[in-house]
Amino acid sequence: MRRHDAIVIGAGHNGIANAAFLAKAGLDVLLVEKNDYIGGAAVSRNLHGDWIYSNCSYVCSLLRPEIHRALDLAKYGLQVVPYGGSVTLAENGDYFGSYPDEDASRREIMRHSPRDADAAHRYERDIMRQCRFIRQFLLRTAPDPASFKPRDLLELLHIGRKLWDLGEDTIADTIRFYTMSIADWLDEYFESPLLKAAYAGSGIIGSALGVMSPGTAYVLLHHAMGDVDGTAGAWGFARGGMGAITAAMQRCFEAHGGKTLAGNGVARIEVRGGAVTGVTLENGDEHRAGIVVSNMTLPRTFLECMDPKDLRPEFLEKCRNFKIRGSSGKLNIALEGLPDFTALRGNQELMRADLHISDSIERLERAYDDWKDGTWSRDPYVDLLIPTLTDPTMAPPGKHFMSVFVQYVPPKVRGKDWTDADRDGFRDTVLDRIEAHAPGFKKMIAHVEVRTPRELEAEVGLTEGNIFQGELTMDQLLFNRPIPGYAQYRGPVKGLWMCGSSNHPGGGVMAAPGANAAREILMHLKKPNTVPEGWRDD
C-alpha cells in the first residue's frame, strides 16, 4: 500500500481529465476504475464480431476546445471528424433535412415554409447569442450567492455584469430562454410543425421534461453550445468511437506519470477525524491519499460509497433528494448492410446526418406523458446515427454500426425494477419504429445491444441511468449544482472533492467539471494552475 497525493475514483472523461490536470501539476495521482476498461460513458466497445460500438455517448461536440488543447489530445491520438446536418422523418413519407451547406438548408426550409426560412435566421442568431453567453461560464467555478467571500462576490458581480451588458432585449430573452418551454419558444419563430419537431428534439435529450415543460429551452442550449474545430454548434465523431477521447486523455495522464487501477471498484471512501484518508477497493485493497476526487454521481458517492456517520444527516437528505431520474435508453446495432430509409432514397448526404423520428410537438409531448406514467414511450423520440458512413473504422468493410438513442425510458417500469422481458419489449418498440421508416431494416441486424437505465446504472454507474449525472433543471444548475452550498467541487468532508457531471456545468462529454475541479484542488493546494479558465472565442 502506497500513499498517493490524490486518488481519482472513476475513469470516465471527467475523472481522467481531472487526473491528467493534477498529474500535469506534478501530483502523484492514482486513478481507480471499477470496470476492466476505462472510459465510463465515453467508450468504444467491441461486443460483437469486428464491430466497434460507441455504446454510451455517441457524438462529440461539447468537449471544451481549451481542454482539448491543454491536454494535447491531438498529439495523443484524438481525431474528431465532423458530420453534417440532421433530418427529421415525417410519417407522411416526407422529411425535413438540415444540411451543413447554408444555401441547401435554406432551400430545404423554403420547401416547408418560406416564412420559416427567414425565421430560421433569427432563430439561429438568437440561439447562438445564448450559446456565446453561457460558454463563458463553463470553465469557471460558480459563485456561492450565500457567501460573503470576496471571490464569490466578485464572480457574482462578473455574471451580473455580463448579463447586464447584453442590453434590455437580450437580457429579457435570456431570462425567458431559461424559464420557457422549448415548444413555446419555437412557437415564437416557426409555423411548420415538422420544423418545430426537428428543433425541439434537442430540448429533451437526456432530460425528464417534455417539450412543453418550462425549462426545456435550456436543455436545448446544452446541445447547441458545442463546437468542432472552432465551428460553433457543429457535431463530430471521435474517430474509432467515443472511447478515442478517453483513450487520448488517458495517454496524456500516463505521460505525466499517472497510474491507473482498473477492474476494481471503490467499496468505501475512508474518513478519519473529519478528513479523507483514502479508499478501500472491492477486493479489500486500501490506498491512501489526502485528496480523494469522486467522478461518480452524487448519490453513488455519498449514499453508496461513504459511511453515513461521516456525513451530516441534512446533507444526506439533500443527496437523497437530488434529481437524477433516467429518461433515456439506447440501442447499439451491428448491421450487415446499409438500411434503406424510404424518405431518403438517393440522398446519401442526409444518411450521414443525425436522423430523428417524431414529427410533431404533440407526439414528442405524448412520449413524455408515458414516462410520467412510468413506462417507456410507446411512440418514442428516436435519434439515430450511422457513424460508419463517416468513420469506416468502426465496422468491417460494407457493414455498419448504428447508434440509436431513445427518449423516454423511465428508471423503473411502473414502479418496479426493469426485467429482461421489459427490456425486450422496449427493444421491439424501437426496432418497429425504425422498420416503419426503413423497411427491411430488421433483417440486416447482426446484433443489438439494448441499454435501459438498468444497464446504464449497472455498467457505467450512472444512478437511475441519468446520462447527465443529474437533471439539468433550475434547481440543479450553476450554484445549485449539485447541491446549494456545494457547487465549488469541494465535498462536505475535508480532502474530498467532486469532479463528475453531477457538478457545474453538467453532463455531456465536456470534461469541464473534471477540469474545474482540478483547478479548485490545485488552488487549494497552492500548486501552479494547469487548467484553462474562461472562454475566448474570438
Binding site: 450567492p145 424559464t179 418551454s181 425549462g215 404533440e362 409531448e365 405524448r366
Partner: protein, 520 residues
Amino acid sequence: MTEHAPRSAIVIGAGHNGLACAAYLAKAGLSVTVLEASDRVGGAAVTREFTPGYRVSAGAHLLHALDEGVRRDLALERYGLRMAAEDLYTIALDPGGQWLSIADGALGGPGALDADRVSMAKHHRQMSRFARILDGIGDRRPPRLGTQNWRDLLALGRLGLDIRRLGTEDMREFLRIAGINIFDVLEERFESALLKAALAIDGTLGAMLGPRSNNSVFIALHRCNQGRDWALPSGGMGTVSVALDGAARAAGARIRTKTRVAAIRMDFDRACGVTLEDGETLDADVIVSNADPKTTFERLLGARHLEAGFANRIHHLRTRGCVAKLHLALDGPPRFTGLDADQRGQRLLIAPDPETVEHAFNHAKYGEHSERPVMEISVPSVFDDTLAPPGHHVLSANVQWAPYDLKGGWSEAAKQGFTERCLDSLEACAPGLREQVLANELLTPVDLENEFGMSGGHWHHVELALDSFFMLRPVPGAARYSTPVPGLYLCGAGSHPGGGVSGRPGRNAARAVLADRGRQ
C-alpha cells in the same frame, strides 16, 4: 409632447384595476373618465344573477389578494365593502369522507397524516417567508433592464438584498425551488397524496401548467403572497367593484358604462384620446388601459404604431385561458361527505392525488378538456343569504382544465359534456348533488372572453410565469406601466404583479402616471 403635467386621463375598462387606478388619479387631482363597454362596472369582479333568484360571483369568487393599502387609501369600507366571511381555510375533499383541512399550515380532518403535520407547518412557514419577497415587489414599479440608471440598478439590488436577508439556509432553498415544479418539492416533503394534490392545485390554478411543469412553485408562491386569508365579500365579488366605483366617483372620476372604446387615437407619436364605437371622440393627456395588453396594442392601438420587435412580443403573449367557471343553483345545501354545515362554506378542493391533477392537465396540452377535472369550490350562500332564496344555495367552482382553444370548439355539446364530467366529480364527493341542481351555467374561457373582454379568457390576461413577471410583465418596454407610446399606460392584470382581485396593478399604474409627470 405636452410641456405640462397631464391634467386629464381616460381609463379604458372599469375592471377593479381600472377603477382603482381612476380613484388614485382622481384623488391626485386629474380629471378622470372611465369608459366601460358593458352595462356594469367591475369586469371579472362582479356579482350577477345566472338564473332567476340565484346570484354568484361570475369571475373571481374568493377574495384573497385585495391590497391592504388600496383598501385603506380608498376607504372601501365607507363605500360598502363588507365581508360575509373571513379567515376561510382549505378543505381537500375525499369521496370516502377522509377529507383534510389546511388552515395556516395546520392540518386537520380525518385525512391528515401525523407524518405530515410537522412538515406542513414548516413548509407553510417557509413558503410564507418566500412569498413575502414576491409580496414586497408587488408594490414596486419594476426596473428597466440593461440601463445605467441608478434607480434600476438599485431596484434590482434591493431585490437581491431581500433574498439575501432570508438567511443562508432559506436563501439557498429559495434559489433552488423558486424556478422548479411543485410536484418534486411536494414529493420531497409530504406523504399524503390528498395533501400533495391540494398543494399542487395552488401551484397550477389559473395557469397552463401541471404540477410537474416548472413554474408551478412560482405560481404557488404568487398565490401564497396574496393569500393572507380567503374571504367572501358580502353580496359577492361585485361588492368590491361597487366600493371601488364609489371611491372613484367620490374622488371626482366620471364613469361611463355602455361606452365601448373602438380605438386609441394618436397625435403624431403620442396617444391623445380615444374613439368610441359610436364615433364620438374624447381627448385626454393620458390614456390608461385596463384592457389586456393584446387587446390594447393590437386591437385598440394597432400594430402599425409599434416597433416591430415590440409588436412581435405582444403578438406572442401567451393568453390561452384554461379555467372554466361552473355555477350551480341548488335546492338545498350540498352534502359533502363528512363535512358539517360550516365546513361546506370553506374553500373546497377536489383533487385526489397529484397524478390525477397531472393527468387532468395532460388533456389541456392537446386542446382537450380534462376527463377527470380538478376544481376549487366555494358555496358562498353558506355565509351570505343575499345570494339565493332561503334554504337554497349557489355553488361556484373553478374547474381545470378547459382550454380556450378546445379542439372542435366549445359547442353546446362540448359544454354539456364537460359539465357532466364536473358533476361526476362533484357527485362523488357530495352524493345526491345531481338531484339538487335546479340550474347550471358553465363559463368556458371563450365565454369569459366574451363576457369580460379578456383575450383568451385568461385570468391573468397574460400567462403568469417566470418569463412574464416583474420586469418582463407583460413584455420588456411596457413592464413599468408606461409603454413605448408616450401617454399610453397599462393598468390591468397583464401588468405586474398580475391577476387576482388585488387592485395593485391599478394603483401602481396610477403612481407611475403621477411619477412620470415631471418627466414628460
